[in-house]
Symmetry: C2
Subunit: 286 residues, 2 copies
Amino acid sequence: MQVIATIPELRAAIKQSQTAHETIGFVPTMGYLHEGHLSLIRRARQENDMVVVSIFVNPTQFAPHEDLATYPRDHERDLALLHTASADIVFLPAVEELYPSGYTTYVQVEGSISATLCGVSRPTFFRGVATIVTKLFHIVTPQRAYFGQKDAQQAAVIKKMIRDLNFDIDIVICPTVREKDGLAMSSRNTYLTPTQRAQAVGISQALFEARALIENGEHRASHIRQSIETRIAAIDDAVIDYVSIVDATTLADVETLSGETLIAAAVKVGKTRLIDNIQVQISGSI
Amino acid sequence: MQVIATIPELRAAIKQSQTAHETIGFVPTMGYLHEGHLSLIRRARQENDMVVVSIFVNPTQFAPHEDLATYPRDHERDLALLHTASADIVFLPAVEELYPSGYTTYVQVEGSISATLCGVSRPTFFRGVATIVTKLFHIVTPQRAYFGQKDAQQAAVIKKMIRDLNFDIDIVICPTVREKDGLAMSSRNTYLTPTQRAQAVGISQALFEARALIENGEHRASHIRQSIETRIAAIDDAVIDYVSIVDATTLADVETLSGETLIAAAVKVGKTRLIDNIQVQISGSI
């Protein structure tokens, strides 16, 4: 496994595999890896000749009041996990390598897909995500890139960016990986106190109860949303940012569930903002 | 020479040359080709195995009040010229091919480099340029792309975008091609009446006189600018948009010329907006 810090060295390593017509699978991460990331890397390993993983806590997707400085980092542990997962190349650049002095270019997926859900409380987040993903795609030149369904809006925004900007890259979205009790894995779970951690499971439980409701025939978004909100409101120390029921591709609100529907929630537990979602496929009409 | 209208067909044609490890030179144009475009194509022909030329009047770089609808078009003549110039592939897409319904993603090179000079009267122009160039680069995947020095600010913005977004493409800027009397070639020259055409030469003459001044030791930007403005003001029917003396890379205003300096003018002659520039290299200090 090669660990590379600079763009020219990474390009040189990539060029070798391109000359050999090898396919490249790419997993961009912010590090502090958990089983969710590892599931993406295993999938990339199955589907490509070469697997490139980046670890970069991207400053342009954090607002000034957010947790850029305290975002958890543990490169030694990450590299050990990536070695075990048989990654070929780990790209671990300094901030200045990707955002040198005088940097001013940004990619923005405009419209409601970026402005809804997390975009309401994090208005510049997806601009930062689209920009860093564009940069990394240009450097790594993958055939396939892997993202988690847990970040459902990010997945939708990146898929739209790929279509709009004509990137020739397959975006592969992998299922959310959960702790045994159902909590969606997240590097930010480490912020939770033991009490908060025990209570945070209420978020996934609320979504699973919603799925049961839907499977029993409830297709009215307002009723489903109310069920989720009531369940989450029962968590001590929790403040709902949003509970939204939207079309899975456009992220437009729906009143009655139909087709591929995303049910997504963002909740602050103490100072920690957690997100989770489920996706349901409603076939036929009521 | 292949003439291709759709992205999948173009990708298929490009893939063949990539498999053969051929280099691709790309010349993006808005058509209505003149000797300036042809000089780019000849240069691309010398330096690459395959030459791709696009003809696309890009709507996102026109403001609503500008000349999108009336921009001159003559595909038959363009294709004959491209055949003579030995282009391999001409990409001639419909608007919907590049901007399908629901399109919302834009690339913006922020800061003064886009906001100064033409950016003052055309505030969304370079956002449109950066977006279409990004899309075409993703589709054509060239090693080298060719632009004219006549569009000096466009060249500076694209070079900055290439650096900021880590495109692995060499940007080649070719000299402005002029009519015998000195007028910079432009598809928009066709808008000029014979009288306006005769007078428009005053723009390039003003720039050439400025160069003579500089060669005689004048390095004060204000004096050089005044000389240019006085000469252009003598043209009937001409209204100066700007006369600017700036650093050739950052496009920041300079007071005293030093290093690589761009002297650029935009002038409305009747209803036709023309741009022209010269670049001077000042060596040593005063």
